[in-house]
Amino acid sequence: MTNKSKILIVDDDADTVELLTKRLRAEGYYTSEAYDGEQALRQVGEYQPDLIILDIKMPKIDGYEVCRRLKGSEDTKLIPIIMLTVKRKIPDKVKGLDVGADDYMPKPFDHRELSHRVRYWTAVKMEVEERVREIKRLEQELIKSERLAAIGQTVASLAHYIKNILFGLKGGVYLVNVASKENETDSLKTGREMIERNIGRISDLVLDLLEYSRERELEYENCFPNEIADEVCGLMEARAKEYGVEIIKDFDPSMREVLLDPRGIHRCLLNLVSNAIDACLFDSNKEKKWVVQVRTILQNDGTVRFEVSDNGCGMDEEVKKKLFTNFFSTKEGRGTGLGLLITQKVVQEHGGTITVDSQPGKGSTFTIRLPCTDVSTPGAMAKESHES
């Protein structure tokens, strides 16, 4: 016998234990023993038996209770239990089966009957283990195939995006060729612009992909949220002006110094403000006076809130639903569709949330909420460390 099963014998009667031990070892099984319920429960954990032969009447915890506990636990419920009943009493058998015993055997027992039942139940245990292994293997496979499907989808979207860039490059080259053959300066200019624009698209894509895929650890630093917001507004000022968009700053004066990753948050706000300006550009109502508002708010519960709103083109439900998906962009070929995804990733890594509120034709508001540790009042920190 190669796969020897381990049997735990539980009985407060030492003679019964000895007899069973001899018999079962003679048949090639490993055995261990316990003389009361408490010891039995301990032994199950240590010995990890494949089968338990369990007496009912024992001091401290009786056999029924041992059985109930073992069958009620995820770790041990699959170990078969044969109950030993002293008399051939029907109520004993029924109660034994009620608490989850798999079989019962009357005492004194017949050797052939014992041998038969033990063989049967150890075989069942092996079969069950095999099934459990199989289920676990299938689960692993499912997780793996789901991950592959996700990768496949990303690759497909990426391929689609690159095909569009290739189209632009091919078209640009075609126009340049036509222009040089027929001396057409107009086509030459359009073609060259197309090539340049698509080279730009490739570099944007590569940068965004790197940013998105990089396992970047957040670098927490003490910083002032208002300063980050101010810096971003400063960076975007020139572009906003060029397109006739006004940036309004509305920073909470009670904002304090907090702990967060300033570069990550800088990137998020830059994405949002740049999107907000684009939303104004794509607005068909050219009469409007376009405004992008950047707000910071320190909430009572210590949450730092950033709001970037615009009165540009807004979004319908369909666009809103796709906002945080790979490579989705409404910017007529100018966006990679990764900006908001990167923003979401950074915000979530901070344990925060990003939400959007938008109405077509009226504008959008993106809100970032970050749970922040206040570092400006030493009292707060001291209290925290005292508590822990």
Partner: protein, 129 residues
């Protein structure tokens, strides 16, 4: 002069295809999405539509079905021009046919981006004569 409507959200596509259309001696009209596209179609029936599939607002799939189920518009020839593989497009059409319980005819031609500009010009000339 025959009129060609180009519906695509990608500015490169509309720039290049307009150029091709004009060089072939036709008039080019541009729309950025399905909603705008249907608007242009109703303003004045074009002789040919070149239609992208993935666009914000209304997709090309929807616009195509709208065109092909509209009695006065369903005879306008349509060239699908998309980076989506034709296999995927035709499969989605079949599913939609079954779902809607009505079958819609296939487009005049299906071109997968990035295509050769000459190919599109040849095709346009063949359809418009």
């Amino acid at each position: 002069m025959k009129r060609v409507l180009i519906v695509d959200d990608d500015i490169d596509v509309t720039t290049l295809v307009s150029k091709l259309v004009e060089r072939a001696g036709y008039e080019a009209v541009v729309a950025k999405n399905g909603v705008q596209g249907m608007g242009k179609v109703r303003e004045g029936k074009p002789d040919l539509i070149i239609l992208d599939i993935l666009m914000p607002k209304q997709s090309g799939v929807r616009m195509y079905r709208e065109l092909k189920t509209d009695e006065p518009l369903k005879d306008i020839p349509v060239i699908m021009l998309s980076a989506i593989a034709p296999k995927s497009f035709f499969r989605s059409q079949k599913v939609l046919d079954e779902f809607a319980g009505q079958s819609v005819p296939e487009p005049e031609a299906y071109i997968e981006k990035p295509e050769e500009p000459e190919e599109l010009v040849e095709l346009m000339k063949r359809i418009l004569g």
